[in-house]
Symmetry: C2
Subunit: 416 residues, 2 copies
């Protein structure tokens, strides 16, 4: 696994255990990225005008093949936050309607629903998913208790951000379809980390990032919409594709993909990212990372004497795990010492489950993380109940067992 490190542009001085937040791009993919940018500059009108449609279609075709769906069901977006904003803002929800989510969701998406809930008067519910999770069945039952006759939308992560758990969304999507409820999946951490076949999964809407675990350049994500629900979407940024003079046959693509002049090199480099992982036998890399992630979780839990939030079976995590930290941990101070004294980049998270007795927890904060966005999210927040302190460890191809050992060693000193 060591040999992969040389392909990445990461500062070798840093023990980088936070692939999850923004990803990292290998040099061949990054070179392709900057090559497209120079290509554009040679003849901007030819590139963004006459070649755009074909270039994007070719890139979408490669992505569709990789994700198990037709290219026409996909549009490139810069990230999942944007993908899910498109969906959430398109749906006609209002008073009397309910959107059911969980208390393990990502802060930006949580905010999107909170904003829209205030604007439009529907209820947004963060259903409690009790931890430690026992079984897939118990998780689904926990979640499904939040469904009522007013539930119009289920919005849920496939791999959760603050807790790094793989949710059994296939069963939830199946039950939702039977009940006539739309499903919107946050797959920010999925592509490249665990297998994803969009057509088999059957979600109505699915947003994914490609700059995270697929290692594409920053600002490469997608929105997938089943053909049957594409008509529900409206443009978020209205541009030439709305009431297009030259309709492509897909209103979905026409309305969502052209956002005016911008650099599209990240989208065009996605095929190179897919090829890089194929060329480097990424199934094996993933397996090795998964083993290392498991060992990291075990090591950290041994250190603290605390239990993980999910069963220790393979299906609950991929290349990213969390482990609980003692409740008295000062995560701001710990984060600073880990970086300043040990050069370890790893996120520490305070995660607030929904209160047991009040599952309708509109307007509450569900997680904050320290050190990845100090400018935006390091201050204390008003929280109900006690926050769970977690450390989230990402293992990517450039990591080694030595990185995990160093983390465990540092924590063994700093937590005492």
């Amino acid at each position: 696994m060591n040999s992969l490190k040389k392909h990445f542009l990461l500062d070798p001085k840093v023990i980088f255990l936070n692939h999850g937040s923004f990803g990292a791009t290998p040099q061949p993919v990054f070179r392709e990225y900057q090559r497209w940018q120079r290509e554009l500059e040679k003849q901007p009108v030819e590139f963004l005008g006459r070649r755009f449609t074909r270039l994007m279609a070719d890139s979408r075709a490669a992505l569709g093949k990789y994700l198990g769906t037709h290219a026409d069901n996909l549009v490139y977006t810069q990230n999942v936050t944007i993908s899910l904003n498109i969906v959430a803002r398109s749906l006609e929800l209002g008073p009397g309607d309910e959107v059911l989510s969980t208390d393990h969701e990502y802060g930006a998406i949580d905010r999107t629903w909170r904003f829209l809930s205030k604007e439009r008067g529907f209820r947004y519910i963060n259903q409690r998913i009790s931890t430690p999770i026992k079984t897939e069945e118990s998780l689904v039952e926990d979640f499904w208790r939040g469904v009522t006759s007013r539930t119009r939308v289920i919005a849920i992560s496939q791999i959760t951000s603050p807790t790094a758990i793989i949710f059994p969304i296939k069963e939830i999507i199946h039950r939702a379809r039977e009940s006539g409820i739309l499903t919107i999946i946050d797959g920010a951490h999925v592509p490249g980390q665990i297998p994803l076949h969009l057509d088999s999964l059957g979600a109505d809407f699915y947003g994914g990032n490609l700059h995270k675990w697929l290692c594409a350049p920053k600002g490469a994500g997608f929105l997938h919409a089943r053909p049957e629900v594409q008509h529900l979407l409206k443009p978020l940024v209205v541009s030439w594709g709305y009431e297009s003079e030259t309709p492509s046959g897909s209103t979905f693509i026409d309305e969502q993909e052209w956002w005016g002049t911008r650099d599209i090199a990240a989208f065009l480099s996605v095929p190179a990212a897919i090829e890089f992982q194929e060329k480097h036998n990424w199934d094996k890399v993933r397996d090795e990372c998964h083993e290392l992630a498991r060992d990291a979780q075990r090591g950290l839990c041994e250190l603290t004497g605390l239990s993980p939030l999910h069963p220790q079976a393979d299906g609950w995590f991929g290349q990213m795990i969390t482990a609980p930290l003692p409740v008295e941990t000062d995560i701001v101070a710990l984060k600073t010492r880990l970086y300043d004294e040990y050069c370890i980049e790893v996120p520490l998270i305070e995660w607030f489950p929904s209160p047991i007795r009040a599952e309708r927890s509109d307007q509450r904060e569900h997680s904050r993380s320290v050190g990845e966005g100090t400018g935006r999210r390091a201050e204390p927040v008003e929280a109900v109940g006690v926050g769970n302190k977690l450390i989230r460890v990402s293992v990517q191809g450039y990591n080694t067992r030595r990185d995990i050992d160093k983390l465990c060693h540092a924590l063994s000193l700093l937590l005492n």
Copy 2:
């Protein structure tokens, strides 16, 4: 002026007379762009997490100084289409309200208003600005005839896209303020082409592109909002900045600038673009380009025997002009021959003024251009009245008199 050509990455084989559509970036600015991208890749969490706020603030400060406003009144966006979508979608307009625009507006912005007009039930009016324009006063009077007691918003370009005319917006903004009407200015072609001092201009909202005439990398634009109206805005992409855990003191910036993970290198390279123009004595470059644009318009009008759409005084145009083509011109065929036979990149536009007797021309197309977005906008559109065929010539620092001579020569052969 010749000496500047070497700084640009444009294909030397192409006579590039369409700076207006997407701009072009000089090498020093482009190098800075790609340097920021490599810098990000060294430590993505430090860059996008801990350094983001400071980096963006520094870049905004340089832009604010350049544009004559405080940095807190600005947010970076990828382009004007996005800037004005933020504004248009935030305002609470409904049945009984009117948005007054002109028949010289840009297709994407025109579509934004048409879309919202349908969604929300307000009227969107493309007021006819008669051509040839006689005086500033007559233009303002033409426009103001569209104002009624229901006019809530005036949305107008400072430099028009299909017709390349500088509109006297200062007077319009002044009258609008007196009448309690909000002003939203499309300044896509302004920064870097003509002087812009946002605080003196006094528009409520102003969107500008920096990748066009300032020559910043693709995907650099801004939205300016007067402090007094910033509270009217809502986030277009809701993310961590909405109900921020770490408010910066500016809800405007918190809500509008962080859109999730994306490449922010274009924003960070704007100071380099400002410096490049300063270093290369751009006031002089602009003057020379302006002279050349004037000569191009004269030459083309002599060739066709047709008159420009505006008086031939300096204040009506900058580095970009249009000249009418004979009404029988097949602009698709002409565009193809200009590129294939003469390697000249120049847009030919069919522009449809609003009908004289029906100024409330909701739902109509106002321009289409050939060859800059064939994939999206080359097919005929349903149009009322006869389209004006125009050629739009942009003159940037890398252009020479020889480029204009070649264009005139080619047209003298192709139009006969």
